[in-house]
Amino acid sequence: MSNQPALIKLRALKKTYTRGDESLTVLSGFDLDIPEGSFEALMGPSGSGKTTLLNIIAGLDRPTSGTLEVAGERIDSLSESALAKWRARNIGFIFQSYNLIPVLTALENVELPLLLTNLDAAERKKRAETALRVVGLEHRMGHYPKQLSGGQEQRVAIARALVNDPKLFVADEPTGDLDRQSADEILALLEKLNKEFNKTIVMVTHDPAAAERASITRRLNKGALE
């Protein structure tokens, strides 16, 4: 895996939050290469900077200094609107609390990112159905989030993440709200995405069992990589 070219290149990446006269360094300035097709787990105690790092990689946050390159494109210098468009094309988000829209069915939730494309309604529906089939929820397409179990909701969220066929998936504690069995099913699904579809996955987790599924585990402590 490590022989693969780096999909993500971070150089001297630093993130500092300033409030009034006080400043807090969350990421202390380090280099990191994440190879294409890898499944990486980011671990570390609370406040170590894992989620901040994940948000920067996903284009949700910006580094205070340093550079970030994803698939050869400098992300840190993009405008807000360009960054949003870049996220829509390149990132699949998987959140701890699934973040599904409660008034939309599973199919409509998965279709949501496709509204930003030029695809027609029939093609959007077809792709959303395919994504739900990949996560094994073709029989739950018309169900609303509240009619699904936590594990099923997370699978819908994964279908939503993959419907645009992004290169990179970022997952923030994807099993944090799930029981062991559901968590294992979700991790198996992420493994499938990584191995069968060659998707790069960066996952923040506190769960050692989840980290074991990753091909690489990196640890952060006080904003620095160990």
């Binding site: 949700l60 996220r87 094309r89 988000f93 008034v103 949501l112 509204l115 309604a121």
Partner: protein, 388 residues
Amino acid sequence: MTLTQLAAKNLLRNKFRAILTVLGVAVAILTFMLLRTVTSAWTSAADFAAKDRVVTRHKITFIMTLPKRYIEQVRQVPGVKVSSYSNWFGGKDPKHEHEFFACFATEGATFFQVYDEAQVTDAERERWMQDRRGAVVGDVLAKKMGWKVGDKVSLESGIYRGTWEFNIDAIYTSTRRSLDRSQFVFHWDYLNESAPIEMRDQIGWIVSRVNDPSRAAEIGTEIDKAFDDRDPQTLSQDERAFQASFLAMMSAVLKAIDVVSLAIMLIMMLILGNTIAMGVRERVSEYGTLRALGFLPHHIVAFILIESLLIGVSGGVLGVALSYPIVERGLGRWIEENMGSFLPYFRINPGTIGVAIALAVLLGGVAASVPAYRASKLNVIDALRRVG
């Protein structure tokens, strides 16, 4: 699914709240339409005035009277076809103390010539002409008071003391809206003979029909010229201008009604704005998710704006739909029958519908503007942290 459908689904997320809000907008629009209809009906009353009638009164105020001899001089003015004179009696039926109706004494011989839209049978007219105490009443008033031809009626007046006895000899209808169908008319001679000496041979106003309606104002000026060097002087106006001058006295009331109707819309806008803001606060994490997925701030503004506009338009359409049966089938007909002298045509003006719908759209747009702006400025990470 489209962005608009997504906004519509958001609207129905809390059905009870959405229904209450739409009903609130509908009631505000309904109230606005009713108040606007009052003002437009009031001001349009002058539009129904006869174009060929000129009203002559005391120059200072129509409360003051003119000498009866003036009528002969008015009849001599070129262009005047026929003239009739009247006195306000201010009669009230002691059995129906709270029922107001126009009650005046008039010259019987000329009344139906001046008001040719008043319709009675020849037999009724003949009976009235022969009956010194005879009265002619409008069909709407007769229906309201339960009077019929042949009834004896006693009225009291705040101007002419005592109890006055009348015989209902005729009930008139009208071929045009220019004549109030709630009037009580009786012979001027009866009033004059029974009035105190100091009040005799005085008339309240003269109504003349002219040969050429387009010269009504000019003929009015000619009438006034005839009394230029006399005391009292007169003021003649065509019936429309006469009504308009009466309406002018009510302009403060009409303005107050306008202010109230706009205040209602403003209050509804604040309520709708608060409802939208509540919905936005509840969905901050969802907006964060949408932004993370690549939706732009203007998409968030569009979601909120469409939702608010849907509420505004739904409420507006419902308010307009409700106003039709209320005004056209119920209230309007009742007002026309009972307050015909002030509001002869109480119907919804098509222009009012357009204004109401436009206001409903504006209401939705303005109410959503602040919550939509704030939602579009949300920090994505902060918004995502709101997830429970």
